[in-house]
Each structure stands twice: as C-alpha cells, then as structure tokens.
C-alpha cells in the first residue's frame, strides 16, 4: 500500500505548503472536525421545531439529554474500541445483563444499592477481560468473540432474571442516578467551573509553549474557542435550570467524557490506543504492548456498557428480559460513528459519543413527538447511520487516493 501511496507524490513539491493550500486540502479531505455534524444537529433541531413547537422546550430537551446519557455512556466505551479499529457487538447484552445483576442483587437479595451497582460494574469489567483475553490469546477478531458474547450474555440475563421477568427498582440510590435534579445554583457552579477550568488550561498551555518558544494561536482564536464553549455550557445550564435543574446523569455522563478525553489525548495509554488503531506493526516495533492495550480497551468498553445499563434502568425505573436488546447496541455504535469516530480505527475522539448520541436521540425523540410509527423511525435512523458511515468511508478513500 505504501508504495502505491508514495507514487502519487512523485510530482509533488517538497516545499512547505502555504496555509491556504493546507486549508483547501483539509476541505477536500472533509477534515473539518465536528463542524459538519454540529451543523447537522442544528438542522435537525430546526426541522423538528418547525414540525412540532414542543421539541425545543426545556422539558423535552431535558428528557432527550437523559435518554442520550445512558446510551452515550455506552458509546464512550465503543469509541475506544473503534479507535483500535475493532468493534464490540456485546455492549447491548452486557448492559442488559449487568443491569439485571444490579436489580436482582438489590431487589431480590437485599444488597444495598451502591454495592449492587459496584458488583454490576465489576461484572462488566470481568466480561470485558474475558472477551479481551479470548481475542488476544486465540487471535479471534473481537467481532466474532463479541458476537458470541451478545448471545451468551443475553442468555445469562434471562437466567439471572429467572421467573420474575420484570424487576421494578425502588432503591433511592439506583433510582437517584437518573432522577436526581440539582437546584439551579449547582448547575451554575458546575457549568462555570467547567468553563473556568477550560480557559485556565488553555492559557496555561499557551504560557508553556511561549516559554520554550513554540508558536501559539492568536489571542482572538483563543478567546473565540473559550467563548464558544462558554455559550454552549451557559445555554445548556439555562435550559436545564428552566425545567427541573441539572440532572445528575448529565454530570456523570459529561464527567466520564472529560475523563476519557483526558485519558485518550493526554496519557501514553491513550496515545498507544491511537497508535495501535493506526498501524499495529508500527506500534509493535515501537515496543508498545499491543495485546495489553487491546485487553484494557475491551475491559473499559464492557465496564462502560455496564454503567450505561445501570443508568438506563435507573431512568426507566425497571429492568426486564428485553433490557439491552433491540436498538440499544446499534444506537450506541451509530452514535460513536455519527459523532465522527472512524470504523477503520485510529481517528475520532470521545466527544463523538456526546455529539452522536444527541443526533440519534434528537431524531428518535423528534419522531416520537410527531407520533411516527416504528417502521419510519427505524428506516430514518438506518439512513442516518448509512450517511455517517459513507462520509467516514469517503474521507478515508480521499486520504488514500491523495496519498494522505
């Protein structure tokens, strides 16, 4: 492949490209970051608002965000697996199984809520470890291992739930995860703290770079970025406060995204995830422990699936035999891909879990408001996923054709 790539450069100049040229090439490569998908989200919101004036109400958007939080949490784990260039098909079943374990522990066996949740999360981690070991030990692609897992964990879920079928949750801790709303002041404190930390870290980074004589972006660009973030955060806080306040589930979800964003972008572990997703052989030669990275990512993915399962059952106040089945798996994969994480590995970031989940649930929520039948909903969601994957594939092909 590399030979083919190299040939396309034969005529190319070795001089540095002008900034305009770089910019033009980025457009050609559709390498605009999250901009297109954010614009898509705005378009979706405008369309649904025109069709139904309740869509952009504080009440509906709060519900939308709560729906997105559980699925988006699962997407965080999937983003990590996708960055490796692999896939995990068992996340839906794992979320259902771990949710059921928590419910059975708490309701049937009387285990306190927090401990039941920890057991459920540990079960998720153990499943990830098992699947990851199977993948690396026997060299079976995760696609197949987790496909088998999908069925097996679904069976385990039926077995765990036993005769009862549906279990209703009453434990204040478990129910509180998705049903706690903080008073407005908490929302403001959390929101402003977020903006402040973001601004301070940007400025600190700038200072460090200036200190060793590296180039920095202009003051205007810095202010612009901080400004955009501030507007988005303050807008969200105002919106949530005007209904029932800042939901705890949102704080958990965004907190997890920030943690995993830092892990993927700022640690050697995260750097090595991208490296393995980019080129396994290059990673190996750089003495990266490829199998360790793979197992760790599979563990994190299943752990996040378990967390997502707990958040979902908390939101729905119950768990049953179909929890985690249906479109749960596809929603979380679709969210990661729509948010801009490549199916081919090595490209994307954790924030795509948030953006993608918002897109998916805006569409499904909007269609619910319009009382469209399931048939239409499935077809539209499928179409959106197809478009996202196609954009991903075209981006990739453009890069290869241009040897980029």
């Amino acid at each position: 492949m590399s030979t083919m790539l190299d040939k396309s450069h034969i005529e190319e100049d070795i001089h540095p490209e002008s900034r305009l040229e770089t910019w033009r090439k980025q457009i050609g490569r559709a390498d605009l970051g999250p901009l297109p998908i954010l614009m898509g989200l705005v378009v979706i919101w405008i369309i649904f608002q025109i069709l139904n004036s309740h869509f952009l109400s504080a009440r509906n958007l709060t519900n939308l965000i709560l729906q997105a939080a559980a699925s988006g949490t699962m997407s965080i784990g999937l983003v990590l697996v996708l960055l490796l260039g692999e896939i995990d098909l068992s996340v839906g079943a794992v979320s259902g199984l771990c949710g059921s374990i928590v419910a059975v522990m708490n309701v049937n066996l009387g285990v306190p809520g927090p401990i039941a949740c920890l057991i459920g999360i540990a079960a998720g981690a153990a499943i990830g470890l098992f699947q990851g070991m199977w993948f690396t030990r026997f060299k079976i692609p995760p696609f197949v291992v987790t496909l088998a897992g999908w069925l097996a964990w679904q069976g385990a879920q039926l077995w765990v739930l036993g005769e009862t079928g549906t279990i209703n949750l009453r434990d204040p801790f478990i129910v509180g995860i998705a049903n706690t709303f903080f008073p407005p002041v908490v929302g403001w404190v959390v929101g402003l703290l977020f903006v402040a930390v973001f601004a301070i870290s940007m400025i600190a980074q700038r200072r460090q770079r200036t200190a060793v004589g590296l180039g920095v972006s202009s003051n205007g660009a810095l202010m612009f970025r901080v400004g955009i973030i501030a507007v988005a955060v303050i807008g969200t806080v105002v919106l949530l406060n005007s209904y029932r306040g800042m939901p705890m589930a949102v704080i958990i979800f965004i907190g997890l995204i920030i943690i995993f964003d830092l892990i993927t972008r700022r640690t050697t572990f995260g750097r090595h995830i991208y490296a393995v997703g980019g080129d396994i052989e290059a990673s190996r030669r750089a003495s990266i422990n490829v199998n360790m990275i793979r197992v760790a990512v599979m563990v994190l993915c299943s752990t996040m699936a378990a967390l997502g399962g707990i958040m979902a059952e908390s939101y729905l106040l119950a768990v049953n035999q179909s929890s985690g089945s249906g479109d749960v798996l596809l929603d979380s994969i679709a969210a990661a891909v729509i948010g801009g994480t490549s199916l081919y590995g090595g490209r994307g970031n954790v924030w795509s879990a948030l953006i993608g989940a918002l897109v998916i649930f805006s569409i499904s929520n909007g269609m619910d408001l319009l009382a469209l039948p399931s048939s239409t909903k499935f077809m539209v969601t499928g179409g959106v996923l197809l478009v996202a994957v196609t954009i991903d594939a075209i981006t990739r092909r453009n890069r290869e054709v241009k040897g980029k």
């Binding site: 030979t3 450069h9 050697t268 750097r271 991208y274 490296a275 980019g278 290059a282 890069r399």
Partner: protein, 291 residues
C-alpha cells in the same frame, strides 16, 4: 571458498591504511542458513563512523538477511559481531537498540493517523507527573520542541511537526522515519531502500539527509538497487552475490559498470568457480587498484 576471505582481508588492509581507525560496527565470518538455502556464507562487513556504506546486490544476494542479522531480527548461525571494537551478542532488536543501532525498514513503520511529534516519540513519550506522580500526562510541549530541534539539525523540512503523517509526501515520511531512528543517540543507522518509489525531488531530499547523518558522525548503511543514488551518497560500496561478499569499492575510484559487473557476476564469473587462478582476472585487479 577459502580464497575469498583472504582476498578481502587484503582489501581491508588497504582500507585500514587509508583510515587508520577501527570500524564502529564490524561483522566477521557471518553465516546464516534457512533450510537448504545458504543465505549468508562467511560474510565480513564493517562500517565506520561518519561513513556511508552502500550494500548492493541482486535479489536474493543476502542484503536483507545481513541487515536483519545486524538489527537482531535474525540470529546468525556463526560469526562474530564487534561494536566499537568490543565483541557483542545480538539476540534481538532490543539488544541492537541498546547498542545504538537503528534500522529503518522499507515500510517505515509510521502511524499514519498520528502527527510527526507523536510518531517521533512513539513508545518513548515524554511524560510529566500530575498530583505528585499519581497520574501522568504527555508533555507535548517538550516533545514538540525537541522534535522541531531534531528536524532542524537534520535539515528536514516538513509543513509542521503537528501535521499527521498521512498528509506528508513520501520523502517527508522517509525523513521522519530516519529522524526517529537517529534521534535517540544512535551510532549506526541501517536504511533499507530509502529512495525506492520516490520522485526526483523527494530522492534528493532523502539523499541530503543521509549525507547530513554522515556529517553528524553516524555510521550509515544503505541498501539500494539504485546505483545512481548509491554513487551519489556512498563512500564505499559493498557488493553481495549469492550470499557472499564479492567486492568492495571506494566510490570515487569506481565506475558504475564495475559495480554492475560485480552484482551480476559478469566480471568474476560464478561464485562457485572462483579459485586461485582467478587472481589475474580484471575484477580482482580492479579491487586491488581501488583498495
């Protein structure tokens, strides 16, 4: 068979007079067999600091095997390896890396999706502790600064050290791969076909980089099929044929048809037929001349 080593010992004698110092890396009597194939047969090899040696030969001559023996991917069946005059044992790639020998393979082994800085530091990232060492974070500032410095020292020109490798041209990628190999205090660097599939300007860029490495005092071994590039950049040319070293030439005293002759065997005849009476042949006369 007995004859060849003696002849090259003579040759090295002449060589030593010209450069009265010991090679940084020296291999003596290296043999390597893969099943029925004798890939390397009693081969000597040496490279000095501040010198570019080209290793040429037809397909199957044993160039790649020799490089893999040096870089530790293959272990030798017999023979000795000396590094800075001391005998060393090379059992794996880690041993060579510790000695300061780095290899740049044809496939470059770069992660296309990462930027230049990340690739230069892949597997050796600079980190700084946070919260009194409880966790760490990548020290991007230091890595970026040092990457820029390294590339400047090597006169490598790329649009930005923050461009992803996928957006670089073939020559730029090759340069990044070479920079990564030499930026960790390497003393010897082996380059496998560094100019294959590159255009004219790109090739020039890589050859300039190789000359730059020589100036920095590294021992550089270049495997190449392209004799024009070899004559441009190499100080000495070592020719392998059918697993043996059949000639060593000082580039400035050599014509390319002599090398072609040595590669194809037109000058020496078949290796198996080389005997004592071969000494009068044109080829060996040339060698004594150039040595």
């Amino acid at each position: 068979m007995i004859f060849l080593p003696r002849r090259y010992t003579n040759l090295e004698g002449g060589k030593m007079d010209e450069k009265p110092r010991s090679p940084i890396l020296e291999l003596k009597g290296i043999s390597k067999r893969f099943g029925a194939v004798q890939a390397l047969n009693n081969v000597d090899f040496e490279v000095f600091s501040g010198e570019v040696v080209a290793l040429v030969g037809d397909n199957g001559a044993g160039k790649s095997t020799l490089v893999k023996c040096i870089s530790g991917i293959n272990t030798v069946d017999s023979g000795e390896i000396f590094f800075e005059g001391k005998p060393v044992e090379i059992c794996g790639p880690k041993d060579t890396a510790q000695l300061g020998i780095e290899t740049v393979y044809q496939d470059l082994a770069l992660c296309d999706n990462l930027d230049v800085v990340a690739n230069l530091y892949l597997g050796r990232e600079e980190i700084s502790p946070i919260l009194s060492g409880a966790v760490h974070s990548l020290n991007e500032v230091i890595m970026e600064k040092r990457s820029i410095d390294t590339l400047k020292t090597l006169s490598v020109k790329i649009p930005s050290v923050r461009s992803v490798v996928a957006s670089l041209s073939g020559g730029q990628r090759q340069s990044v791969a070479v920079a990564r190999a030499v930026m960790w205090n390497s003393k010897v660097v082996l380059l496998d076909e560094p100019t294959a599939a590159l255009g004219v300007a790109q090739t020039r860029m890589v050859l300039d980089l190789i000359k730059n490495l020589r100036q920095q005092g590294l021992g550089v071994v270049v495997i190449s099929h392209n004799l024009v590039d070899v004559f441009d950049v190499a100080d000495r040319i070592i020719v392998l044929r059918l697993g043996r070293r059949v000639g060593t030439y000082i580039t400035k005293n050599t014509r390319s048809d002599q090398i072609v002759g040595a590669i194809t065997g037109a000058e020496f005849g078949e290796v198996e037929e080389v005997t004592n009476d071969n000494g009068n042949k044109e080829g060996s006369a040339d060698e004594h001349h150039v040595g």
